[in-house]
């Protein structure tokens, strides 16, 4: 494999990791606050559709992005209602939200656009353009560094950079702010937060809404950055993969970046090579596709460092039985 190919693969790794990263951070906020979110997939999906649909109708990708985030937040609120207000089963709520999104998107897309559950292809201002970082053209010829900067780092949609920025931001919010302290506390022992005079439901709703925003960006990126329009079920399991990455990352922001980059790399490899021939054995593409899931099971099995989830995760906060 030559250098340029490696750059190319890393380049697509970055693109493919972005939605995973955003969704993973969404899950991180939610689960750190004690609300388990299987519905990342559904929220991304509905954001993908809404952003593409609104962008197609208004011609503005920014309006589309906002609409996508809005739709995703709406599903977040449903999840919040079920798991915070009505103390329902968070897993079941997440499963339902995924179904809801996968059905609604196609249903509405078909009603609005009559194109078999997709949106029209997005053109011009209805899509996120690739951003060339400054001096990319000037230094591309410098060996090693030039291509890394110009090919790998430069030339992505703005949302890729947003995703990357979200990592330190998430770290800062969680570990260096009042809100972060309370959020983490709510995920560990909500009664401690409650008796300290802070509303558990308030913090949890805030976390769930942040998760909605991040999933919204992730979905919008899929439909308006990575691709030019919405197609049915276009998230293709990325929400679940983000969930896997979250476990992989042990609920930590920087690890989330590494985990999603790893999964992005696996995807990039699987996209490019049908079967990877290692001489002795040939790795079938299906194995590459399944590898993130297999790795997650291995992690869960505790053979590679134990992943301890937030203690109050998945349990509704009930004061009075």
């Amino acid at each position: 494999m030559d250098f340029l190919t490696i750059i190319q693969i890393l380049d697509s790794t970055l693109r493919l990791a972005t939605p995973l990263l955003l969704a993973c951070l969404a899950g991180l906020f939610s689960e750190r606050a004690g609300v388990i979110d299987i519905g990342l997939e559904g929220k991304m999906l509905i954001a993908a559709f809404t952003s593409a649909a609104i962008a197609a109708m208004t011609g503005s990708v920014w309006i589309g992005l906002l609409a996508g985030i809005g739709a995703s937040i709406l599903l977040s609120l449903v999840h919040g209602l079920a798991s915070i207000t009505f103390r329902g089963n968070q897993l079941i709520s997440g499963v339902a939200i995924n179904f809801l999104a996968s059905g609604l998107t196609v249903l509405v897309a078909q009603t609005w656009f009559k194109q078999g559950g997709r949106t029209p292809s997005l053109m011009g201002g209805a899509r996120f353009e690739q951003i060339r970082l400054p001096f990319a053209n000037e230094i591309i010829d410098i060996p090693i560094f030039g291509p890394i900067y110009a090919e790998l780092l430069s030339g992505h949609s703005i949302l890729v950079y947003v995703g990357l920025l979200c990592v330190p931001l998430t770290w800062y919010v969680l570990f260096r702010t009042r809100f972060g302290l309370r959020l983490r506390a709510v995920g560990e022992n909500p009664a401690a937060v409650d008796t300290a005079g802070v509303s558990v439901a308030g913090i949890r709703y805030a976390a769930v809404i942040i998760a909605g925003v991040l999933c919204g960006i992730a979905g919008a990126y899929l439909a308006t950055g990575l691709q030019a329009g919405f197609v049915k079920d276009m998230t293709a399991g990325r929400g679940y993969m983000a969930l896997a990455a979250l476990i992989f990352a042990k609920w930590r922001p920087w690890y989330a970046l590494y985990a999603t980059l790893l999964f992005g790399l696996l995807q990039a490899l699987a996209l490019r090579y049908q079967n990877i021939d290692l001489g002795v054995i040939t790795i079938p593409v299906q194995f590459m596709d399944s590898l993130p899931y297999i790795l997650t099971v291995v992690i869960l099995a505790g053979f590679v460092g134990r992943a301890i989830p937030p203690r109050a995760g998945g349990q509704p906060y009930v004061k009075e039985r």
């Binding site: 079920a82 089963n89 339902a96 609604l104 476990i247 194995f287 899931y293 099995a301």
Partner: protein, 364 residues
């Protein structure tokens, strides 16, 4: 003391939830510019108006009975098995191997063998998540989700690279030999002189599904294992106190759950498609969750809920055929049912509870 009577909890609450889900679905239909009443009529006539419709309704219901029982058994041990999809996929693999590679003289011999294979393969796929939960504390929900994806990859690999007949472009196995074809309800009821559509795929597996309901009922409420399983589901420390091994219960509950999910394959793979295709399970594993929730994890409830979902599925297929309403409407309805009966349960229950408490206070 229970706040509300049992019948409220078992019947009234799910029924109200269901009604709300349907009302919301009706709104969705209106929102996409269609007539909900006409849609409902079409669904009813399409799913229940002919033996053909019934044949499909019961065919789907059979799938959902198996996956619903699978979820219910695990639920009793407080395990949330989201892996029905993968387990049923593997069950299909088991059935296909049995049907394709062993020359059977008669279906009556092939069927038990296929049942065993389906159950074994499904159980095997549930075994590892169960073991990981029992011995390593890995969260069963996440592992079973992961196993669904891995099952998809595995089946894909096998169908594409090994099991597709030479010369075929389609990643599916060859048709199963004639001798393994199961009698359909047309054949079964014909014996009693009852007319039933020959085209519909409902087959003898439906009767096996009913037997499975009885089996699960006896297992859970009559056997010692069921007693221990439920005890574990209520309280793990109590189970340990009573000398019940949590590891044993978790692993066995998952094995039984997986076996039930896997058994679905005798219906969809052996009974209907008569070959193994990609994605043969078509989400039935997930619908099992809704069915178990609605049926309150009781086999009778599962049976009724499965028939309801069978109706929804067949009705939805009819909608997609004869109207502009896409089949995805059913996915939306299904989502609303899961949401309301499963996650927003308390939204309905809380006001009812308040009513009962107020009434009790007034009495005293």
């Amino acid at each position: 003391m229970d706040v509300v009577p049992k019948w409220v909890d078992m019947l009234l609450v799910p029924l109200i939830s269901l009604l709300i889900a349907f009302a919301l679905s009706g709104l969705v239909i209106v929102a996409i510019g269609e007539d909900p009443v006409a849609a409902l009529k079409l669904m009813v006539t399409g799913a229940l108006g002919s033996t053909y419709g019934w044949g499909y309704t019961l065919y789907y219901a059979t799938n959902f009975i198996f996956t619903g029982l699978a979820v219910a058994v695990a639920f009793h041990a407080r395990l949330f098995n989201i892996g029905g999809e993968g387990q049923a996929t593997l069950g299909g693999l088991g059935v296909a191997l049995i049907a394709l590679y062993i020359p059977w003289p008669h279906w009556a011999l092939a069927l038990p063998a296929a049942m065993i294979a389906a159950a074994l393969f499904g159980a095997a796929w549930a075994w590892l998540p169960g073991v990981l939960q029992a011995y390593r504390g890995s969260h069963i929900v996440i592992t079973t989700i992961m196993f669904n994806f891995i099952a998809g990859g595995l089946l894909n690999y096998l169908l594409v690279n090994h099991m597709r007949p030479p010369g075929s472009m389609d990643p599916s196995t060859a048709r199963f030999p004639e001798a393994t074809h199961l009698p359909t309800l047309h054949d079964v009821l014909g014996v009693f002189g009852i007319e039933f559509s020959r085209a519909a795929p409902a087959n003898i597996s439906f009767l096996i599904a009913i037997l499975a309901c009885v089996f699960v009922w006896a297992l859970i409420w009559r056997t010692r294992f069921g007693y221990e399983l439920r005890a574990y589901g209520h309280s793990e420390p109590a189970a340990v106190y009573a000398g019940i091994s949590p590891k044993r219960i978790v692993v066995w509950a998952m094995l039984i759950s997986g076996a039930l999910a896997g058994m679905m394959a005798i219906n969809n793979v052996m009974g209907e498609a008569e070959r193994l295709v990609l994605n043969a399970v078509e989400g039935a594993g997930f619908i099992g969750i809704a069915v178990a929730l609605m049926g309150r994890n009781h086999p009778l409830g599962v049976l009724l809920a499965a028939i309801l979902f069978g109706f929804l599925y067949q009705g939805g297929a009819e909608l997609a055929l004869w109207t502009a309403i896409p089949r995805e409407l059913i996915v939306v309805i299904q989502a609303l049912v899961i949401l309301l009966t499963g996650a927003l349960d308390n939204m309905v229950r809380m006001p009812i509870e308040r009513f009962y408490i107020a009434r009790r206070l007034r009495r005293t």
